[in-house]
Every structure is written in structure tokens, then in C-alpha cells.
Symmetry: C3
Subunit: 472 residues, 3 copies
């Protein structure tokens, strides 16, 4: 029996209602070839600094993608058998053909999931695969991908250009020296890869490595961080450095969006206790909440767009965390309150149109209840796109349905791919553009919008809003 | 270039699926001309008492409508530039042409929003506008609306009749003398404009003006309110007076739906402390919770339908509140618990079919989880329509989808326009009727309902249920 | 005028979009005649032990179905008038014709509800009714159903066979002697009716009857329960007995999914306090949370699939509870947190693929926020189907939309009818299969899935997943 072909239908993700589908196609034509704006993501800049070929599909698609191995793990497949490195250096599977065979044997698990949609797109469009991945075709496809990846047109920089990426932001610790960003600049390559300033490792005093981080911060900034005021200056210094290296935004991954304004005395006392290793959970909560306020203040001063990503219970599975470390698919969303938590920040800075604060959520019940009403009022507040688990066909559609009526289109900021998986970038943007076309097509077909309005909006959602809100 | 026409498509808001659309059209024919029942709203009765012409589109559509200027504010447009009066009397924009130009320049912000849908309907059907509002057409449309408003057929009372309003309820403080309602009655005009009894300003002891309000209550009722029992009698007196003036309902805007039964001694002590200005936040919470119970008791006695509107964080933006006052688009919904909070009230009075308590929510996650199961059990409890931010095309559809299966159609109470913006009333009812037609058309097309059942239901949703549950 | 016919359209619950409908029909053909797997329900085993005819439609459809009389009660119809027995033995309506007439007079209340859909299916397919139930046809239909029920092909065992039930699990207290299950076995009848182990009445120390229950547990197990360790042994003994009687699962109806691991000393002290009648609410919370952990441990040992049904506020209406007892339609869902509550259990046992824990929820906001991410990671965790109020056309569709993208299809466990109402079983499975066909048809029509993938999935959802996850 011959293997089934891998087909990407050109109408995928549009409604099958012919009236809507025709409009969706028309709108999609307007945006499918627009450059990709990637203002928030986790691609390693080293990729472009070194520009080495990707070795094989497992290194490219499996090991770096916790979306993918999380699902296999949920069905009882040990992470060791998928080649995920252990912290203790214990043996894990090194035969990438064996790993790829496991993925192929269980590829049915991804039916109906965004990971499945992205992978099919990547295999077809980026890697030239023409057959469906099954137990039978696994090795043939493995060989074919290895061959494809060895070609010069599939080096990271060549892919970057082929993907039509206008700008790609990485996410980098406040203490990062941005060496790979420097190397990219020095290389003369024209791809625009910029950093984003993420100070979580120095603003969360509950981290075991916090003290080491503030010492590192002192080192990279050349500013003494043994006092709170030195700490603030060091942060300002690093923000300035990141800006010089091209950054236009900061990012804050916090447990909750709690914000609070402490007196100078209070915050200094917490900072000193933290240096002495004597803080409480409540200290940590207050300090992080206070630092979000400080970051907003600095953003007004230096113009960096501020992003807040709250509400993820990181490393929920202690065993996996101990054995494999963070970012292994065990971060679980939590119910999140924005109304009370963000109020101090919004009351102090939210009326200032110089500030742009982009908020993300994993708690969809807040879209219509909290976030759209807040963004539909405060000049500084904008809503980030459907995040993480919700960066999906249904998830993005729910986002538009629950956000648009109260916040409109223009208090949202376009799409973020938010990915570590570089070759999935075109697939992710394409899915987002298609879902937006689908949503707008419905609005046109139901006479909520006129077609010319939808034509403008789709370009804004696919390109202009991200560029404008991230000042790119 | 000639301006684009403003068109209201006759199939708007119906599904574009031809099978469903045909059924929706059929159902809509049955209800589009039914009289409007407006059992809950905020139109100023003075409008009909004085019956003066509306001066211009800004006075009519912009300044009284926080839905509208909230969105402009969210994009950095100062409220002063929109003519919103400041509390301190500072200068604000007085050139209404300039304000109208700003609205027109930013009208794209309302794409996909209910405000946009209502405004287009009002301009087209009520004000005779035939071109789309753009930067170019703004002044021409301004002039045309001014001319239209000057005609006798557009005086408030004439509009009321033309809109086919059978009854319109205003919302009035317990301390209100209802002077405009009296004037309307005395004028001989036959339009039915009735008050609703809203005692929030005397049941919330945390308000700075509370003491002044209970003194006002004593004055208007002629009953001494220096004791709790006098206070209760004064409330009963005012309810009786409102009933005489046509009221059939009460309304309670509360922080949460918390209810509690205090002992007589406990509540008297809180009341005394309140008179002495010595209450705590917990006192206020208990007092409001207790007063909801008292109001339910009085409703059983006097037959007034009781409405509870909880879950809005009023005046979230302190700066705007201080500068412009309440109702300026800064009320933000909060997560709300009905299951525990309403239990004391429902356990004491919820089994009494003489009582009708209509509950509203801004927290959609409670529709299917809490409200539909409660309304599908307790005889006294009914669900108000999709409220505020959810009074929208998608919002109403989600409401029906999440409520109907558990509560049925007959534990809901039809539509409320809940508006301050008088000329938007027909647009709001029309949108609601269209969304209900769309929902029912889907149920018929998918063989959940037979067509004759849907024909009955659409009339109930558009007319009978509101009339019955508000005893109109 | 002749009565309208009762028609079950063969395309019911499919989308009316012709492209999707055609695919849905095709998928439905593959599963409509598959045997029914009923791994969780509340049918009384006595029915099959005694195999007596059902007397009349009220005894069959009304009195045992709190879904049905709850809705009538919500519209002011006293439960006494529907023949619901009172605890105090007071008179209730005994004329079943009168009761049936009330149901018929108010049958319009069930429009758009699952109860309405199931009843129409039962009447048409199981009871041979050909006219719509109305005030006029009530008595004629009553007589016809009585006649139908008197025929041998409508005895409980004959129905069981006709319904094509492969296996039916009841739910039984830990203290139950399973006498009716024994009688069924001894009768030689081949219908597979098995128990499920539900120890709530001995794991919830806050119950007034708790002490009596642990004494009963000692009696049925022959193991002294006056110590905690005896209690554990007695539970293990009963689990073993249930297994011998065919059980493959346990079930835990808990207030919240709180889990905790107490030290042996702590739990023994609570147990002793409980025996002395001296426990606090906090003791009860800790004990139940600890017992869930113990149950997971035992499940790993004996292989019983573990089900957790949290988040229902049982007997919310005190008056109805006192007058009529539990399960009278007054259980109301509450907001539920799985992320923090289940963590101790998942951290201790969730990585063990020998364990299957199936979690249900009444709080839909947790589908995409908590449950799908947890099930998409932990090997032991699976998601039960849309539960109770959400076992409905829209409810199941929302479930698939919010769960599939993150958890996939294969971390869900197929359908449960969860019913006391035996004759509604085919209707419930048919509705679920149709909704799944509809959902999959959309995915095929929108090119998310290929048709051959959907063909496999629909069989898995309708049959294989339940069989596999309940080890049937």
C-alpha cells in the first residue's frame, strides 16, 4: 500500500460555509505574503550567530519543543526515551532514529492540536515532506529531512530570510551580555534579531539563584547592587544597553499580576533582607509587585514597551523539574485576577499614553470579564494575543469573540509566535492570519463589517498593530 | 470621490448559512414590529417632562454615552477634548463640531463593537443619515443631524411614540421625589414612563453621603430614620410611593451578591454605628447583605420585582473618578460567586413563587456554572439578559448557549436595554431580537426545535417574558 | 385538529451546513450501532435482579429524574404535586395521570434542554410514541405507554439487551453488600452489570452518619474499624470484594479536589477524634484530601480506575433537602481549583502510568485553563466527559472545543451517561455520538483532520476509549 500524501489544503481553517470561505480567501490573499513581525519569542540567538546547519528532525523538532514531548509524556512515554537531557547526566536515548520512530508511531495524538497543525505545515512547506508521517514512513521521512537540512538554503539565516521575517525579538535575562546578538551585528548579516529585556531573575527574590543574579547584574552593569538604589540604577543601565542592542520591549513573567507601591523605606528593607537571605513569601510578593511599578516608570522614561505574562504555575510536576529542569511541559495555568492586582499600576501610570503595557493571560475567563473592559478604558493598556495553550485555531477564535466587542480591534497588538521552535514560525503566523481571516469573514458575511473595513483590519492584525505597539 | 453609503443590511446579525438565514428572517418578521418593553434603563425622565429638542449629535450621542467616549479615551484621546464636564469646572471643549470631528476621525475604533452597531442603526433609522461617518463626511452629517433634530417629529415624546415603546422604566434613588415622573403624569401625555426603586444610596453605609441620604429619606418620607426600625418604615413608605407612581420593580447595584440574615440586635447596632460615622468595611458588607434580605421580604409583601446587579468594580480609575465623577467608563467587572453569596436569601425566600428576583452578571463563567443551575431550580430566581459589556451580538449568543440548556427559555426574562442613551433604544432591541432569531434559527435548522415552537419562543423572548416578569 | 407528530429527524444535532452535515452523517453511520459502554451511572441494580415491568410513564420518567422535576419546580410547581415522596411521609399526589398531565402541560419548559431531547428520543424510540406530548395528547400517550411497558420486550433485562449495552456500571457505597449484583449473577442472565466502589460515606467524616457507616464497614468486611489501620484494611478488603463482583473503578464525590498527604500520626489522630465525634471542618477537609491519596495508592495496587467528581454544592436548598432528601435537583456547581488542589496527588502518583485518574468538572472555565493542560502532561490523569449540566448538545461541543487542542482526543475517556434514568441511556449515548460527529465533521470540513482520521477518532470516542480507560 502506498503511503498517504501530506496535503495542506489551501482553504484550511476557514469556515466551510461557502459565503464565508470566499471572503476569507479574499482577505487571506491580502496578507499571506506580508513580512512576519515577531516581537516576542524564545529562539536562541546563537542559531543566527553561528548559522550552523540543523542536524536532524529530532534535534530540530522534538528535543527543543515541550509542546510536543509533553503530549507523548502524557501517554506514558518516558522523556528519557525521547532524548530529553537529564540534569544528573544520566543516560537518555541517543539514537535519533529511534526517537523519530516513537514520534511517528504516536503522531495520531496530535490530531486536532496546534502542534499537529504546525508540524504538518513545517514538514510540508519548510522541509519538503510529501507523505504523511506514520510508523511506516518514519525512516524515509527522517532521511529526507536530514538531506533537506544539509542544504545551504536551510541554514538558519537562509531560513530567516526565506520566512520573510522583518524582525525577530528574542527574550533575554537582565544579566545577559547579549554576546550572540553582538556576534550577529558584527557578522554583517542584515537579519534584524533584537533582544527583549526580561528581569525576572533579579526581580523575584524568592529564587534560589537571586543573590547570584544580582551579583551578576552588578558585574555586567559595572554598578554596585548592594543597595536598592544601586540595583535600580543597574537595571536602568541594562535597559539602556538592551535598547542600544535594538530592544524595544521588556517582558515580565510573574506568578500573578499583583502590583503595589511600597514606600522607599519598605522596599529598601525587603531588598536588604533579601541580600541577607532572610525573606518571606510575602516579601517576595511585595517586591515583585513593586518592581512591576518601577518597570512601568522606567518604560515611560525610556520608551520600552512593557509585557506582563502572569498566571502560570511553573514546574507543577516536581519530579520532572528535579530530573529535567524547567520548560518541560509542566507549567499549568491558574485562575488570574487582573482587576484588583493591576489597579495600583494602572492608577499610577495607566492614564499616560506614552506607556504601552501589553498583558497576556492563560485564564480565558478574564478576556471578556476583565481584560477587554480594562483595555477598552486605560490608554496605556493593550491586550496581547491568545497566549500559549490558546495560540490555536479555537483559542484564537474565542479570543477574538470575547475581546473584540468590548476592546475593539485597536486595543489588541497583533500576533506573537512566542516560540523556541524557529522553523515553526511561518506555520504559527499563517495559522493566526487564517483564523483572523475566518473571524473577519464571518463579520462581513453577517453584515457587521463592510468588506473594505475587513480589508483594512486584516492588514492591521497581521502586520501594523504589532509593529506599532512594539515600536518596531 | 463620493462618500460610501451607510447601509443597514436587512439580514444583519443572522447567520450567513442560507438554511439558517431563511428561518431567522421568518422569525424576525414575527417580532420586528412588536412594541418595545423597556423594564430597566437609565433614561432621564426630565427628557419627557420637558420635551425639548435635542440640540446636536454630540449632546445626543457622545457626551451622555460612556460606552462611546471610553473607547476613544482608551486610545489616548482626553475626555476634556470630548466635552465631558469636569467636576472642578475646568474648561473642556465646547465646540461640538470639533468633538464630532474627533468621533468621526476615530469611528474605525468601533468596528465590531455593539456601540458601532447601535450608532449605525441610530444614524440610519432614527436620524436619517445616508452616508458613512468618516473624517470627510463628519461636518455634513453634523449639519444634517442638527436639522433633523430640530423637527417636531424628533422631540423626545414623538420619538418615544415612533419607537413604539409600550413602557419605559427609569431608575431612581430611594430618596428621589420623582418630580419629573409627576410632571409627565400631569402633562396628560400618554407615554408610559415609570420609576424603579433603587435604594443603594441608603443601603450602602460605606458611602460618604450615606448619612445625608438617610436624612433625605426621612425628609421625603416624613418618617424619622434615626432608628433602624424607622429606616425600614421609611423604605417601605418609599416603595409604596414608587408603586403609586407606577413602579413595578426595585434595583440593587451591589459589590457582590452577598446576603446574610443578621439578628435584629446586630443590624440595629450596625445602623447606630453608621449614624455615628463609626463603621467598618465588614459592617458595610453585612449591612448591604442584610438589606438585600429585607428587600426580598418587602418584595414578597408589595409585589415589586427585585433586580440584583452585582460584580462591578465601580470607578476603578481613581484619576478619572476624581476629575469627572462616576459613570465615565471605568467600571470593571469582577469574578462573582452566586452559589454561596445568594444562598441565605434563596434559602429564606427562594421557594416562594410570589417573589421574582432577577439576577444579572458581568462574569460569564457563572452563566452555566452557577446561574442557570440556580434559576433552573429556585422558583423565585430568574436570569436577567446578557448585561452591559455582554449586551452584544456575541455576548447575547454566548448567554443563550450557556444558559438555555440548564435553565430553559422560561427562567429568563427577555431583554433590557439598560441605557442612558434614549435614541439607541430601538437599535438595542433590534439587535437583541435579531440575535435571538439567529439562535433559534440554528436550533430549528439542527432539529432541536420545531419551527412552530421557535415561533412561540421568539415572541416570548421579545415581548411576553419581560412583561410577565416585571408585571407590566 | 389532529395532534402534531413526534418526529426525530435523522440529521438532528448535526450542523445544517450541507458540507459538514454530509460528513457528520457518514461518521454517524460508523458508530450508531456500536454497543453501549456505560462505565459510570446510577441505575439501581435491583431493576435487573427483579426484572419487573415498569408500571407507568410517571414511575419510569418523572419520579426518578431530578433533571425533569427540578425544571417544573423552578416554575412554581410543588414537588408534592409531582408525586415526589416526602421524608415525613406526608401525603403527595398519587394519581399518576394527574402528574403526567402536569408534565404535558409544561412540556414547553424543556425546549432546547437535554432533558427535552432525551425525553423525545425515549418516547419515540423506546416507548413508541408517535404524537407530540401536549395537554391534549397527555392521556392518550399515558395509556399507550402503560400498554407498551406491559409487554415482555419492555422488561428491564429485555430493554438492556435491546439497547445493546455491553456493560453497565452502577455506583455503590463502600458498605454495600451488592446483594442485587449477586442476584443478577445467580440468575444466570448474561447482561454485564457491575458495581463501582464509592467510599464517600466513610471517607467524609463530617457526615452525621459517618460513625454508623464505619461500623457498617466493619460488619460487612469483618475487619475491626476502631483504628485507622483497621479502617484502611477494611477499605482494601471491600475494594477486593467489589473487584470480585466485577468492579473496575472507584468513584469519589468530593466538595473540592483538595488532596494532601498527612503523616500517619496526623491522620490517626483525626480518625480517633472522628470516632469520638469531636472533629472540626478542617479535620474533615484534611481527612478527605488524605483519603484521596490513599485511594490513588490502592488503585495503583489493585488496578481500579479512580474517578473524582468534585465541585458540587450538594443540597443547596435546605428546605427541599429537609422535606425530600438528597438528589432533588438542588445541587449547584461551584468554582473549582484543580491546579493547587490536585498537585499533591499528581506529584506523588501522577507520573505512574499504571494509575488512571479520571477527573470531572462542573466548572467549565477549568477545561482549557487547568484540566486540559494537566491531562496533556501527567500520564495518570485523564478527563472525564462533559458532566451533568454539561452533558448536553452545547455543553459537549464546548468541552471538545476547549479540551481537544491542549489535551488531544486521547487524554479523554469517551462518554458516560451518569444516569439514574435507565430508559434514557440510548438517547444519551446517541446525543453524545451525534455531537462528536458534528465536531469532527467541522474539523474535516475545515481541513484540520483528514476523513480517515475522523473515522478512527469517532470509533474511539464512541467505544474504544471508555473500554480502555475503565479496563472493561
Amino acid at each position: 500500500m502506498s503511503a498517504k500524501p501530506l496535503i495542506l489544503n489551501e482553504d484550511r481553517y476557514f469556515s466551510s460555509n461557502p459565503i464565508e470561505r470566499k471572503i476569507a480567501r479574499h482577505l487571506y490573499e491580502l496578507v499571506k505574503d506580508l513580512p512576519l513581525i515577531c516581537p516576542h519569542g524564545h529562539v536562541n540567538p546563537r542559531l543566527f550567530a553561528e548559522n550552523k546547519p540543523f542536524p536532524d528532525p529530532v534535534e530540530l523538532l522534538v528535543i527543543p519543543d515541550h509542546y510536543l514531548f509533553r503530549m507523548l509524556y502524557s501517554q506514558g512515554i518516558p522523556l528519557e526515551s525521547l532524548g530529553i537531557p537529564r540534569r544528573d547526566g544520566a543516560e537518555v536515548e541517543r539514537d535519533h532514529r529511534k526517537i523519530w520512530q516513537i514520534v511517528a508511531d504516536h503522531f495520531y495524538l496530535f490530531r486536532g492540536t496546534p502542534t499537529g497543525m504546525w508540524l504538518k505545515h513545517e514538514m510540508h512547506d519548510v522541509l519538503g515532506v510529501t507523505k504523511r508521517l506514520t510508523s511506516e514512513t518514519a525512516m524515509e521521512i527522517y532521511d529526507q529531512i536530514v538531506e533537506t537540512l544539509s542544504r545551504p538554503e536551510n541554514l538558519p539565516r537562509a531560513m530567516f530570510e526565506r520566512f520573510n521575517i522583518e524582525v525577530l525579538s528574542t527574550t533575554d535575562a537582565a544579566t545577559d551580555t547579549l554576546e550572540y546578538h553582538k556576534k550577529i551585528r558584527e557578522s554583517g548579516w542584515k537579519g534584524r534579531v533584537i533582544p527583549a529585556f526580561r528581569p525576572d531573575n533579579v526581580t523575584d527574590i524568592s529564587r534560589p539563584d537571586w543573590k547570584a543574579n544580582v551579583e551578576k547584574l552588578a558585574e555586567v552593569s559595572g554598578i554596585d547592587t548592594s543597595t536598592y538604589s544601586g540595583f535600580l540604577q543597574a537595571l536602568e543601565n541594562r535597559r539602556q544597553y538592551f535598547k542600544e542592542m535594538g530592544a524595544t520591549s521588556t517582558d515580565h513573567g510573574v506568578w500573578t499580576p499583583f502590583t503595589v507601591e511600597l514606600s522607599r523605606k519598605e522596599v529598601e528593607e525587603i531588598y536588604e533582607r533579601a541580600l541577607r537571605g532572610k525573606t518571606t513569601q510575602e516579601d517576595a510578593r511585595l517586591f515583585t509587585g513593586h518592581m512591576l511599578m518601577e518597570m512601568a516608570r522606567m518604560s515611560i522614561e525610556d520608551g520600552l514597551t512593557m509585557q506582563i505574562h502572569p498566571g502560570s504555575f511553573r514546574n507543577h510536576n516536581q519530579l520532572i523539574y528535579e530530573r529535567f529542569g524547567p520548560d518541560k511541559g509542566c507549567d499549568i495555568p491558574m485562575a488570574t485576577d487582573f482587576v484588583h492586582n493591576l489597579r495600583p499600576l494602572l492608577n499610577k501610570y495607566g492614564n499616560d499614553p506614552r506607556l504601552t503595557v501589553i498583558v497576556f493571560t492563560l485564564d480565558e475567563s478574564t478576556y471578556s470579564r476583565e481584560l477587554a473592559p480594562l483595555a477598552g478604558h486605560y490608554p496605556a493598556l493593550k491586550l496581547g494575543p491568545a497566549w500559549w495553550f490558546h495560540d490555536s485555531r479555537e483559542g484564537m477564535l474565542r479570543y477574538r469573540r470575547m475581546v473584540t466587542e468590548t476592546a475593539g480591534f485597536y486595543n489588541t497588538v497583533g500576533f506573537n509566535d512566542d516560540t523556541r521552535a524557529f522553523p515553526s514560525i511561518p506555520a504559527r503566523h499563517d495559522l493566526a492570519r487564517r483564523v483572523d481571516c475566518r473571524y473577519l469573514a464571518e463579520l462581513v458575511a453577517e453584515h457587521v463589517l463592510d468588506l473594505d473595513e475587513a480589508e483594512e483590519i486584516i492588514v492591521d492584525l497581521s502586520y501594523n498593530l504589532a509593529k506599532r505597539n512594539y515600536k518596531l
